[in-house]
Structures are given as structure tokens and as C-alpha cells.
């Protein structure tokens, strides 16, 4: 088995809302090998998105150890996590979360603003990422001028442009029709199989999960099973 890109040990995550404390994850341990495409499934409130946020460095655990790409995330400061995310993680959201006032190309360039690349190099890389996801012809269009499927492709290009080791996708097809969803999922499959990107995808959709190489099921803050598919 190849080395783990994600390693979680005894993860607890508790949220405090007002006077209430909500236990979202309890004693969760998990290893995801490098180059894997994992679909994380489960009912609403099972802790999928919380787990994804912890792996993506958007949140920190209440207790336990998280290691992603050899980096202990639970030891990093807020600023350290920001810099780590910029260099190693690509995010894809359900509702694309593109900047409405920027063109597709400018949206894709956003992560590169945090690098020392020249303006020309940033532009070239953005165009290359848009070409990779098959939407270079819409580079000058704003998100409002794109279909859902096209907008999600731009979001994937933005997630890829800084060449991250891991893509975390939160319901990437949740806002798309079947045809567009299948196109996006097929694209993710290509990125995984042909470009070696490790992908963790949260989804409710069993058809979407079939595109992954492995499915993990969660319920009430714990992993139920892990099985190799495809």
C-alpha cells in the first residue's frame, strides 16, 4: 500500500454554540493513501463536511492528530495553516464560490497572487488550468455568464492552478444537473488517474460516489466502513 497522504488519529471535534456543546466527530482514525480518490458519504449531520474541513486545514480538531502530506496540521497556527493551504490544497465547493466581479481567468489566478510569479506567468498558468478543464474559451467571461457546469470547471481550475497535492471537494455536483455533474465527475476522475491528484469528495449522490476509487461512509461522527470499489 502506498504512503498515506492523509492520516487522522483519534480525532474529536466539538462545537460550542451558545450554551450547547455538540460532539461532531468522536475518536475518528483514518488513513488515505496518496493518489486515492475517496468519496465520503453519509446522511446530513454525520460529520462529513467537518472531516473535510479538518483535512483541508480550514478547521482544527478539539483533540487528536491530523497529518496531511507529512505536515501535522493540529500543530500549525492560523497563519501557518493559511500558508499551508495556499501551497498544498485545492478546494472545490458545491456553489462554486467564484468572485462574481472577476472573469474566469482572474478567478483562477487568485491563488497565484500569493506566489511570487510574474503577471504573465500567472496569466499563462491560469489559461493552462482552464485549458486542462476544457473551458479556456470562456476565460474572459464572468461567473454570471457561465452555466453551472462551466462555473464548476472554473472552480476546479482555480483549485488546480497552484498544483496542490490534494483536492478537497464538498458536494461538487450538488448544484448541477446529471449531465453536467457527470462531466465534472469525469474531469475529477481524469485528474486523479492521469494527473495523480489525490481527491477527497463529500457527496450525497451514490452515482457521484461511483466515480471515486473508494467510498467511506459516516454516521453520527464515526466512520462506518471502508471498502475498495472499482
Amino acid at each position: 500500500m502506498s504512503e498515506a497522504i492523509v492520516s487522522l488519529r483519534n480525532i474529536d471535534k466539538r462545537y460550542v454554540r451558545g450554551k450547547q456543546s455538540v460532539e461532531v466527530l468522536q475518536g475518528l482514525s483514518l488513513d488515505i493513501p496518496k493518489g486515492d480518490f475517496v468519496a465520503l458519504m453519509g446522511p446530513s449531520g454525520s460529520g462529513k463536511t467537518t472531516l473535510l474541513n479538518l483535512i483541508g486545514g480550514l478547521d482544527t480538531p478539539t483533540s487528536g492528530e491530523i497529518t496531511v502530506g507529512g505536515q501535522r496540521l493540529d500543530k500549525l497556527s492560523s497563519g501557518g495553516l493559511s500558508r499551508w493551504r495556499a501551497n498544498h490544497i485545492g478546494f472545490v465547493f458545491q456553489f462554486y464560490n467564484l468572485m462574481p466581479m472577476l472573469t474566469a481567468q482572474r478567478n483562477v489566478e487568485l491563488p497565484l497572487l500569493l506566489t511570487n510569479l510574474s503577471s504573465e506567468k500567472r496569466k499563462a498558468n491560469a489559461v493552462a488550468a482552464l485549458t486542462l478543464v476544457g473551458i479556456a474559451d470562456r476565460a474572459k467571461h464572468k461567473p454570471s455568464e457561465l452555466s453551472g457546469g462551466q462555473a464548476q470547471r472554473v472552480a476546479i481550475a482555480r483549485a488546480l492552478v497552484a498544483d496542490p497535492m490534494l483536492l478537497v471537494c464538498d458536494e461538487p455536483t450538488g448544484d448541477l444537473d446529471r449531465k453536467s455533474a457527470d462531466e465534472v465527475l469525469h474531469l475529477l476522475q481524469i485528474l486523479n488517474r492521469e494527473h495523480g491528484k489525490s481527491i477527497i469528495m463529500v457527496t450525497h449522490d451514490p452515482k457521484a460516489a461511483e466515480f471515486a476509487s473508494r467510498q467511506l461512509h459516516m454516521d453520527k461522527g464515526s466512520l462506518l466502513e471502508a471498502g475498495a470499489l472499482v
Binding site: 483541508g56 480550514l58 497563519g79 464560490n97 462574481p100 482572474r106 487568485l110 500569493l114
Partner: protein
Amino acid sequence: MKYFPLIWATLWRKKTRTLFTLLSIVIAFLLFGMLETVDYAFSHPSTGTSGADKLISTNKYSITLPLPFADLQEIRSVPGVTDATWLTWLGAYYQESKNFVFALPIDTESYFNVHKDEFIVSDEQMKNYRSTRSGALVNVALMKKFGWKVGEKLPVHSTIWTQKSGSLDWTFDIVGTFDVRDSTQANAQAYTVFFHYDLFDEGRSFGKGTVGWVEERIDNPANAGAIAGKIDALFANSPNETKTQPANDFAMTFVKQIGDIGFVLRAILGAVFFTLLFLTGNTMMQSVRERIPELAVLKTLGFTDGKVLALVIAESLLLCLFAAVIGLGLSYATLPIIGQALQGVQLDPVALIPGLGAAVLLALIVGFPPALRAMRLNIVDALSGMH
């Protein structure tokens, strides 16, 4: 600079709102520029060379208080004073009070000696003026403004001086026109009408034997301060103490009589900026509130808390500075009009520079609270719509 397209695009996210906010800041800074240059002009009297060889002595306590005519001889005896002349403010207008006329009774010989080579008058018209007791010399610009002709009667109404008949109306015969040699003085003299002091002194019902102020020509501008000191020392502790100052500063002193110009201007600007603070501050807060998911995405992509804070403050700076530059630029364009309205007060564009400082201060004050909010944004909460 690499963040500029992002900041600029964010600023114009809601075009109409940004445009109206921009417009209100532009207008505030237009007002700032106009008032600040006037305030600056009054608080920084001219030290230029034009008129540097002339002094003006007024009553120390107010220009509205007269000086005894007898003081003139003593002033003429001060070393360094080559000649002196006397004038009084008629406070006149033509037909309507908005038609201000700077009618000055002058002693012809001494006045044109003190102001040697400053005016252009034809020999023939000057001869007519000297020989006509009710004669008046009128500035060419004023003649043109009201369409007057040489040979016509010129009736003006004084707001101060009654004639022995009880009338406030004074009528002169226009016998000639004059122009100024120094074009920088064109505005200062644009409303001037000269007429004979004898006619005025004999005609007025009170104040005989007094003058409004005395103008002195001096031999060396470098000694202006010392000569002014000597003149004022002559009348120290007398019932009519004098205040002698360079002629350039006189116009400002004249306008200052109506009150503390600086205080009035600062009060207006204070009110304007106080309102602007709330307006722009509210816009910035609203703008950031609407963009919470976008700011959360930036943080997700790796923008640190400090970078997000800097981006929002930069946006505020860009908005305020951009609008301030337009507003101050427009106020710069209005300087000639204001200068004309203030009768020759010299307005210096350097007074506009603090406007840029005010814009930066405004941007920091209105930008910091929303920037702080953006900086403290929790990504998970913001993305899940809990903010």
C-alpha cells in the same frame, strides 16, 4: 500592485452604490479644497514682491475705526517713507446691493505718487479728471461689466456715508477709465472707482478730518518691517493707535473683519467630514457584510488574516483617495473663480495637499472596522452562512 485588479473589481462590485459614495466624497473634497485654499490664504499672508514697497496703516483695533488726518504728516516724516496718501471706504453699490463697487475717494497727487506706474490712464482723461470736481476714473473691466460710457453720470449708493442732505446717494461724472499694468492686480482692482477726496470730505455729514487708512510708499522693501514698527510706535498709547502692514496683507485683513474666517471654514469642513464618516463607514460595512462568503473563499485559498485586513483597508484607501483626487482637482479648477470673488486674495494650490492626508485618515477610520471584521472571519462559519 498585483492585488490592484482584485481591489478595483471589488470596489465596483455594486456600481451604483460605489458611484454615489464616490460622488459624495468628491463633493466633500471639492468643498474641502475650496474652503481650505481660502483658509490658507488668510492664515498665510503673501510675502511676495508685488506691492512689497507699500505699507498700509489702519486703526489698530478695527479697520472700521478712522484715523485722524493729522497723523498723515507724522507718518510722512518717518525715515524710509517716501510718500503717503489717504483713503476711505465708501461702502458703495450700483443700483442693487449685489452690484458691489469699490469706490475710493483719493487725493489725486499723493495717490498716484504712492502707486506710481501702476495704472494706465490716458493723459487727456487724467487732465479731465483733475479738472472735474465730480469726476470719476473707473476701471475698464467695471465699465464693461455695466456697459458704462465716458461722459455718463454714475450714481452709487453708500452703505456708510450720508451727505449733508441726508442722502446716501453719491453721483459722479465718468471722465475716464483706467487699467492696471500688473495683470496679477487685475482682479484686485476690477471693481474700483476713484473720485476726489475733497468732494467726499466736504460732502459727508460726519467724520470730517478723518481718513479710513493711510498708504505709504517706502524706499526699501527689505526695511518694511522696521518702517512699519516705527510708524506704529509713533501712535503707541495714543487714542488712535495704528497697525501698519504690507499692502499685500491688507485685503485679507479687510475680509477678516467679518469674523474668524478660519473658524467658520473649519466648522463647515468638520460638519461635512463628520457626515461623510458615517456615510462612507456605513457603505464599507455594508459592502464587507455582503462579501463575507467571498472573503471566506479568499481565506480558504490561503489569504492570511493580515492580507484580508490589508485588502479591505486598501479598498477603502482606493475609494477615498480616488474620490479625493477628483474633488481636489475640481477645486483646483475653481481657484480662479474663487480668487475673483475674493477680490484679489491670492489662493495657493499648496493648500490642497493636506486634502490627501485627510483622505487617507478618512479611509483608515472608515476602513478599519470592516477590515477587522473581515480579518476575524471564521472560514467554516462564513462558508456555512452562520455569519
